[in-house]
Symmetry: C2
Subunit: 136 residues, 2 copies
DNA sequence: ATGCACCCTGTAGCAACTACAGGGTCAAGA
DNA sequence: TCTTGACCCTGTAGTTGCTACAGGGTGCAT
């Protein structure tokens, strides 16, 4: 399959596929006589894995480790579990942090009663963390 | 005040202050005879505004608009409200999206029973969105 | 005079792509 | 046969918001 087909099959931008090859996340495929990349099913499966992991928020380096692991089926899988658990913890941290942010923003946005910039409570609140309710 | 003092006063990296000047977010300050930057209180207030807004997640371009607005005290403040409301909506979207992610990751992480990579449910789940419970 | 803390400019690096510029290849239609 | 258009190639530069040098100058104390 040519790169355009792989792109459509996996919902991945062509430039992104070439980028993944360049950084060594995907193996270089065979080339046709015209120097076109030619992919098979294992390539498609690997790219699907990468895209799904990216959609779940894993970094490229985490995905690299996960792929190394799945390339070596006899290895103990605890590292995969560790990577995923750590990522889950990071997502939870991020949610907590954004929730604080949301509360503070809700408070700030609610302060505006209209009028000129000189009297705007929103602009005032942005210049003064002292008026914030919580840490963020 | 020299750049080091401004840095300490606002909790901003020196390189970041110079970066803000370079991109036109902070005005170029006066220079001493030795070509050192020399800041006054208005600079400090402006940088405080910028840092607080960044801490609240506003982009540089949003902050630029907000500063433009506060530089022109007679203008109607509805744009500030619009920018802040839109940002709040984005934060809420992000929270919703991360919550879906968290649920999916919790499910995936819980699948691992230990063993070898070939049998790992975590690795399997990462390669197959079909096994996901929701959209993400 | 020499050490040290501080300041300057300019450039390059990070993550994870994305967007060209400038070219080659190939099948179908006029 | 010629040409149009869709596809492919490489290589480089842009995005966001910083951060980290390299290589130099300044100012004060010992
Ligand atoms: Zn207002
Ligand atoms: Zn605050
Ligand atoms: Zn496992
Ligand atoms: Zn999924």
């Amino acid at each position: 399959m040519k790169i355009g087909e792989l792109s459509r099959a996996t919902g991945t931008n062509i430039e992104t596929i070439r980028y993944y090859e360049r950084i060594g996340l995907l193996p270089a495929p065979h080339r046709t006589a015209a120097n076109y990349r030619s992919y098979g099913d294992p390539h498609r499966a690997r790219l699907t894995f990468v895209r799904h992991s990216r959609d779940l928020g894993f970094t490229i380096e985490e995905i690299r480790s996960l792929l190394d692991l799945s390339d070596d089926p006899a290895r103990d899988c605890s590292e995969a579990d560790r990577i995923a658990s750590r990522h889950l913890a990071q997502v939870e941290d991020k949610i907590a942090q954004l929730t604080l942010l949301r509360d503070e923003l809700t408070r700030i946005v609610g302060c505006c009663r209209g009028g000129v910039a000189a009297d705007c409570r929103v602009i005032e609140a942005l210049g003064d963390h002292g008026s914030c309710a919580g840490a963020h």
